[in-house]
Symmetry: C3
């Protein structure tokens, strides 16, 4: 024990220091202010101050930031024994991931003359990528040391950026709220990692004994912040003007409908009429995930509500019937049920996006078509082709996530386990 903890005492600091020093050096070599953050460049252009991208996106950025640090962090406190671990590790891997994501995303689609240009939009994208890592964290919660999480984050951010680059830059896919790039990717990557790390004796129920009461109230803080700010999440990087406005509103109605169907399904599937807090805490959010791709499109409030309504039903059914099967048959221990909150609703969102894209017309979008489907507006692509490419993008995302998760779980993450002899739950708790 003394040996193991001495080991820990040195390993975590060394890993953190090395990673941060590498980050600082790479930032020094590669990163520059963009035109809206650089004092000279912004004043060189004939811009008004109010046209600075800061005013269009910073309020949304802060909402997203709250979702990443409070929302994801506290949502996971429902596992009573892991209250500290979830908030504390969430904080650490998020702080690392957002820096690493700035570099990876910049490398793939933010280079200008050999330099990565950054501003509020890149900050939002870095937070988005971090969100994907935290979704995977939800799948492996309780089985991994902070060092393993940092290693997983490093590889996941890289693969996330590759997938995002293929979708957004190569295929011309639209996915502003990340049903595919963030939610589907994060969920299935994490599920593969947790499969690799399968531990037969992990008994979640045992950790939910005393004083669940306050743990559940803390988890509701996470849930409600995610719920409230999801409109900002989906609209944070859509085009200025009507696009941001429409996306936020579609998401708002999708979530409201989803909450209604989640409560209904939770009571319906319970054998004693008791609402299951886990359903309320998670399924009610599926409407935000499912509006992630089509939210910026002319989905209509009516369409958004149908999407949210279905997402809530799917999500509760997943928690009730699929999660136990995944664990028993496939040995996938999905601690927080990310397949139900992010996986299946993400796939639903991708399909809705593909269909909505396929039926887009100039008549409905007018000049706004340039913002939502630029390739279709410029006549370079039929709407139906755009729809097909959206569907292909889902397959690409699933492929990269599953294979990536398998490899990253099998090698870097598992090797880290071995080198630290044995990481029992106790030691993880001790470490925080």
């Amino acid at each position: 024990m003394t040996d193991s903890s001495t080991n820990m005492r040195l390993k975590l600091p060394i890993v953190c220091f090395i990673l941060e020093i590498i980050l600082i050096i790479l930032f020094g070599v590669l990163v520059e202010y963009d035109h809206d953050t650089d004092a000279r460049d912004f004043h060189n252009m004939s811009h008004h101050d109010y046209e600075n991208d800061f005013y269009y996106r910073y309020p949304s950025f802060q909402d997203v930031h709250v979702m990443i640090f409070i929302g994801f962090g506290f949502l996971m406190t429902f596992l009573q024994r892991y209250g500290f671990s979830s908030v504390g590790f969430n904080f650490l891997i998020a702080a690392f991931s957002l820096q690493w994501a700035t570099l990876m995303q910049g490398f793939f689609h933010g280079m200008h003359g050999g330099k990565i240009h950054i501003g509020v939009e890149s900050m939002i994208n870095a937070d988005f990528c971090t969100g994907s890592v935290l979704i995977s964290f939800g799948a492996v919660l309780g089985k991994t040391s902070p060092i393993q999480l940092l290693i997983m984050a490093m590889f996941e951010v890289t693969l996330f950026s590759v997938n995002e680059y293929i979708l957004l830059s190569v295929l011309g896919t639209k996915d502003a709220g990340g049903s595919m790039t963030i939610h589907t990717f994060g969920a299935y990557f994490g599920l593969m990692v947790t499969r690799v790390l399968y531990r037969p004796n992990l008994d979640k129920s045992k950790h939910r004994n005393s004083s669940v009461y306050h743990s559940d109230l803390f988890a509701m803080i996470g849930t409600i912040y995610l719920w409230m700010f999801w409109p900002s999440f989906n609209s944070a990087v859509t085009a200025h003007g009507d696009d941001q406005h429409r996306t936020a509103m579609n998401t708002y109605y999708s979530l409201a409908a989803c909450t209604m169907s989640s409560y209904a399904m939770s009571a319906l599937t319970a054998h004693d009429g008791k609402l299951d807090m886990v359903h309320i805490q998670n399924a009610a959010l599926a409407g935000g995930v499912a509006a992630g791709t089509a939210g910026e499109m002319m989905l209509t409030p009516f369409g958004s509500m149908i999407v949210g309504f279905l997402a809530g039903i799917i999500s509760v059914l997943g928690y009730k019937y699929l999660t136990p099967v995944l664990e028993e048959k496939l040995k996938i221990q999905d601690t927080c049920g990310v397949n139900n909150l992010h996986g299946m609703p993400g796939i639903l969102g991708a399909i809705v996006g593909a269909v909505t894209a396929a039926v887009a017309t100039k008549d409905v979008y007018g000049e706004g078509l340039h913002d939502v489907f630029p390739l279709v507006a410029e006549g370079k692509r039929e709407a139906s082709v755009q729809g097909g490419i959206q569907a292909v993008s889902l397959a690409v995302t699933l492929g990269i996530a599953l294979i990536g998760g398998l490899i990253v779980g099998k090698f870097p993450v598992s090797l880290t386990v071995n080198s630290s002899t044995a990481v029992s739950d106790e030691i993880i708790i001790i470490l925080l």
Copy 2:
């Protein structure tokens, strides 16, 4: 018991599903994007992106959203036994109410060519109407099943919209922060419902036994979010420019002064020098309620502070001396003391608004008079007449709230009780 819970198990899902399906159908038939959310319409007009209403109101909307879901939800956790119920039911009825309010408010004052046009302003108004329902929820907390709450919400939203229509559209009343339309209406509607549902053996004090400590800290989260974002609440739908700015600032100073007088009165009325957490959690907010009508007017920071100062005093006195009398003499069990936080401060706010309107002059407001009192600016109405109409509006609001609450409590809500045999506190708790 098994019978009753089976009953519950089916009733809540059925009610939720039916309500949501009706909402979706009505949205499909009636609701359309407005000019700032529609891709074609927004691009048809010669607008700059930064003129989209989204950028004027979305940050305020999100603050209001936090007040509705975190603020109201957690404020009510101070009743220890009802921690889950308050947060969980709050979530459900808010998700329903905001959809239903979109339709009702749109029906009464948002129709354009047979369609309801929606955007960020209608979202704020829907949240406002939801706030009113949650105020009534505070009055009946601990006595109602979720189904009863949904029924109450359905009728209350409808009556809210009628009252709002009479005030804002027929009478030309000003009430941007809703001292009358939201707070007075919600409080007295709820007080009548709780009167109808009077239950002699409801003993609140018993529910406050163990571990009140953390319950009170959770409640402080609710309080402080309401307190911080009240400036956004009152300014969210005022005119662009100086109006939003002035309203936020007036509310800020009203709240600060109210906090000082609440602490003072709480210590003064205590018999042992102990500050009462219930006073701090509630009375300190009365300054926001009381600035709801006059906040957008040229109330001056000085005037705002006097209003807040008085509101804090009235509110603590209400908790200390009036609430027990209401319960004993009038059989009104005001669980959260909404009469003290929303009722009397709302009336104070309405009176302050009437007086401030009556003394408005072109000299003080300049061209800004068109934003605040358009009818007065256009010479269609004297300022003194505007003041009188503001006072009449308070009477109208009280009348509709009291009669409406009586009828809604007596019939739809009470009938729901009967049909579900008996709803004891235990079953309510079990249901969440």
Copy 3:
């Protein structure tokens, strides 16, 4: 005991009422709406609504507001016995301080024709000054009655405004995020007051016994809100456009790097590999403090990360090795460790600001130099001189804070103690 509590029962109300009435009278005599909040003035000018300062600063103001009331309030709940005291007293002294700060700051640098003009910028500045008082509160937590805190706040706000006036108006120092004016000042003022109030038998560790678990989760809410919104804090009053944008981004990267080094140092300095929650809750924030002066300058993301990285290291070392020495050798009982979170990182921030200012060139800043260093841009001052004056400003701040804290602790605060006979921890607890 009865005697003492009767005493309390009357003293707190009397002090609150007198202070608030004085505030209201002074507001009535001295305070007016500024050009962006006054209905007539704003419409007299040929402004567009979107140019109102409200839209540039209000979202940042609300973030700062959350830091002051939720951030500071809940950060201090980690001392389990003081959960209520910290949140409740925080609320009271903040509500008082922001009103008093409006007057003091207005008196020193907001007078127009004998009147203090106020708007969103003065609201942010009032919140900033309040933040400084709350930092000092962190140093004396557990030793002071609410009345003493109000007295301390009254004098501290005054001295804060004097120091701020000397720095910003007389010396032309740049300190938008307040490394000097807010953090260094608040920390060293508070440390001197706590030195004067030294109480040998104050045993913090005893207060951390039962159920620390939830206390620590509440404290993490405070920490994470401070962490997330610090970019808004540092950028809230910088110039419009690229300045606000750049400041927010620099702070974001400084905080991320700081979190990494805080975790590393916490594990490294632990004897059992256990991360210390106090380090996580506090040291991870030092990166925001240290970016307070140079954040608006062309510090580069790379430079910001180095600053944050160092701040985290210094802060953990302070908690580990300096705090015990301060208590034992200098009799300074720094309850919340404000020297480690605000004091030393504030000094680091001031030094970084001085160096960054000294190397500023027209080549790097272009026309933006007018926003960041107006005197240098106008040729009235060399950049190196600006750097020197920044360094002098740190010395001035330290001098005023230390001497001011000594005098205010010695006389008004200590005299209040004596007059109320004896204020034991118990009575303080009882009072809330």
